[in-house]
């Protein structure tokens, strides 16, 4: 059990794929960085180009429709995460609190409101003001309030979608029809707002690009089924999910997944994996602590733990569960995609998805990271933990901090919990009592 520490010097985690330490696996990561920089450059100059800007939420987003009308798309959640990983979120949060936003208000909201009130400058570039606010998902009530605050602040119009909650594997026909009717209403609104006629061919072209990127992304994620895993499906996927979330509908996104899938093939061929010696295959559920992202990752790598599958990279779309965009069924497939968003799934569905992943990816254990900011996503994770332990015999750890607010991350406590969890897994493996359904 436990880690052997010569003369009590804590071991450094081994260098992982994507870090560039050995010169391998750099192409995808470098390209991702370039795409981020390019995206922010485009944002900063959108107004100069006369391009309208739409703000949208990631879950079940309607990127394809607004892109077909020529909008540049801003995802304030992703801006927030980029600020957090660059240690720039706290200033924005504290500023929002000085404006009267309470301690318990969502970190996304406070980062964004604070950022906007401070002039919109991020470590990556300046974020333009919105011409349109599209509240594309209604499952989180604070989203609506957040968008209302921005709409009032900017005097920008706001549209809200009513997305029925998913309680079955596939959406009900009535729900799809209901969504399609809202999408047409949205299209008519955009025609008036932009003074352009809706062009179905333009939408189909965007959808074809989306489909290509989605299939590439699914292929990359599927590689986690291999043993050892050539990908890090949580910590590395955090970087690689940028194109699927932000650039979907453009050729850039599809091209990116061609590059990283070729990278995976090289990793498999050369045996260069994220963790040199894979000891534990872990499923990770929940939003990462972006403010301490590398520290958190190190706590896994020290134990040879690799996340082979994770639910968080699926928040932009459950493409691997069949919710893919389809140019031959444009509106229906957009509706199904929106309904099938991970954040829109009932707890029964989320449990089923996670149980399937544990089996399909031969996971030894589950680590759930809850965030204080988001009760709507996190509430129920305690029950999920109990269900996995008692009903599925899968060792499961629940830890909590925040994705935006660094004040909620306690390194010593976090490490202690993860060390103890992996110590216990090691004990159970040595005793032969690790769940037989779990990966070997």
């Amino acid at each position: 059990m436990s880690e052997t520490v010569p003369r009590n010097t804590a071991p450094s985690p081994p260098r992982a794929a994507g870090e560039g330490s050995r010169g391998f696996l750099e192409e995808g990561r470098k390209l991702q960085r370039d795409l981020v920089e390019e995206y922010y450059r485009n944002l900063a100059t959108a107004k100069e180009r006369g391009q309208p800007v739409a703000y949208m939420l990631v879950g079940g987003n309607l990127t394809e429709i607004v892109r077909s009308f020529g909008y540049e798309v801003v995802f304030p959640e992703i801006i927030g995460l980029n600020c957090a990983i660059k240690h720039a979120s706290l200033d924005n949060i504290v500023h929002a609190e000085s404006m009267g936003y309470g301690l318990d208000v969502c970190g996304y909201v406070k980062n964004d409101i604070g950022l906007q009130d401070l002039g919109g400058s991020t470590p990556f570039g300046k974020v333009p003001r919105p011409d349109l606010l599209v509240c594309s998902f209604s499952g989180c009530y604070i989203y609506v309030k957040w968008w209302e605050a921005l709409a009032e602040s900017y005097g920008a119009p706001m549209t809200t979608f009513d997305v029925p909650y998913m309680r079955s594997d596939r959406p009900w026909r009535e729900d799809v029809d209901y969504m399609v009717s809202q999408l047409w209403e949205f299209v008519h609104y955009l025609e008036k707002a932009t003074d352009h006629s809706f062009d179905m061919d333009a939408l189909r072209k965007v959808l074809a690009e989306s489909r290509r990127a989605e299939e590439g992304w699914v292929k990359w994620l599927d590689a986690g089924r291999l043993r050892p895993s050539p990908i890090e499906a949580y910590f590395e996927a955090i970087f690689y999910m940028f194109p699927i979330n932000v650039l979907r509908g453009t050729a850039r996104a599809g091209d990116f997944y061609d590059v990283v899938n070729a990278e995976v093939e090289r990793r498999v061929r050369d045996g260069t994996n994220p963790v040199p010696e894979e000891k534990f295959r872990v499923l990770v559920e929940g939003v990462p602590p972006y403010t301490h992202y590398r520290t958190f990752w190190d706590y896994f790598r020290r134990w040879g733990a690799v996340s082979v599958v994770a639910t968080y990279p699926k928040v932009g779309g459950l493409f691997d569960r069949g919710f893919l965009h389809d140019p031959s069924r444009p509106f229906e497939s957009i509706a199904e995609y929106s309904l099938g968003a991970y954040v829109n799934q009932s707890w029964e569905q989320r449990r089923r998805i996670i149980a399937d992943y544990v089996d399909q990816y031969s996971a030894d254990a589950v680590v759930i990271h809850g965030i204080k900011s988001c009760r709507s996503f996190t509430a129920g994770q305690g029950d999920l933990r109990d269900w996995l332990i008692h009903e599925r015999n899968v060792p499961t750890l629940y830890v909590e901090s925040d994705h935006e607010d660094p004040r909620y991350f306690s390194p010593a406590q976090m490490r202690n919990r993860l060390d103890a969890f992996f110590e216990a897994l090691e004990q159970r493996r040595a005793a032969g009592s690790l769940a037989p359904g779990a990966g070997r």
């Binding site: 059990m1 436990s2 880690e3 052997t4 520490v5 010569p6 003369r7 009590n8 804590a10 305690g382 332990i389 909590e400 909620y408 306690s410 010593a412 406590q413 202690n416 919990r417 060390d419 103890a420 110590e423 216990a424 004990q427 159970r428 005793a431 009592s433």
Partner: protein, 262 residues
């Protein structure tokens, strides 16, 4: 005859236990200051003095507790969760649930028949319900923390303490005093409040007998009684309960030393 050591550097105290063939042959306890490296050394030296043994005789040393990475002379670091499970199972082989209340930390650990950790839960980033909570409230009432257990047992009408925050609980204590409540009744209320929080944490992993209570707060007999009443089960407490993390570490050292052929 293998001598091993366990050094537990907690938030409040440093403990060291020396074990030979499963028996405790020396131990030490001292407050932790700002120099954790020195405190760990000191705890180890004091335990050696207690056992009348020399450093060179110790075959394997395991460090544990929050300060475990500051122990310069060990061969292994293990979390206190594994160590408390091991130590409690050694002293009370029927243990299936360990409650450890230390200076700033409360943890519950479900253990298997073999003393393995099956599940655990810990308090959040908050000192409510820990030793620090009792320290603060004891000070507010003008007692030394060592006195409050026996005093709480003399309560006649325990008050209800509702605050979950250490700082607010102190204010609540002052408020009860200003309304003429008796200190023993307030102390009994504080102990009941901790017992209630502890039970809630225990329920997260499942309450099963036997329950073993460890950590500095387990020396408080008022707390032991309040806990047994709230949980509805007898609670194992050892005179060594404050040393159980260090004991578990030393026992794990015995296994490692045996495995290494030492």
């Amino acid at each position: 005859m293998t001598l091993t050591g366990g050094v537990d550097i907690g938030s409040t105290t440093a403990k060291c236990v020396l074990v030979e063939d499963g028996r405790v042959v020396g131990k030490s306890l001292a407050p932790v200051g700002v120099d954790i490296v020195r405190d760990a050394d000191h705890a180890f030296d004091e335990a050696l003095l207690d056992a009348h043994r020399g450093r060179e005789e110790v075959a394997f040393i395991v460090g544990t507790g929050y300060g475990r990475f500051k122990i310069r002379f060990g061969q292994l670091v293990v979390t206190e969760i594994s160590c408390h499970a091991r130590g409690a199972s050694h002293l009370f082989p029927g243990t299936r649930l360990v409650l450890d209340i230390g200076g700033q930390d409360t943890k519950v650990i479900r253990v298997s028949e073999r003393g393995e950790v099956e599940d655990f839960a810990m308090n959040d980033k908050c000192a409510a319900g820990t030793g620090r909570f009792l320290d603060v409230c004891a000070n507010a009432l003008g007692f030394d923390v060592a006195e409050i257990g026996p005093v709480s047992l003399t309560a006649r009408r325990p008050v209800k303490v509702t605050s979950t925050c250490t700082v607010f609980a102190e204010s609540e204590v002052t408020s009860h005093l200003s309304r003429g409540k008796e200190p023993p009744d307030i102390l009994a209320g504080l102990h009941a409040s901790i017992a209630s929080r502890s039970l809630s944490l225990m329920q997260r992993v499942g309450v099963v007998p036997e329950v073993t209570f460890t950590g500095g707060v387990s020396r408080n007999e008022g707390m032991v009684r309040a806990l047994a009443q709230r949980v509805g089960l007898p609670v194992n407490v050892s005179p060594l309960s404050q040393f159980i993390g260090a004991l578990g570490a030393a026992l794990l050292g015995q296994e490692r030393a045996a495995g290494a052929g030492a």
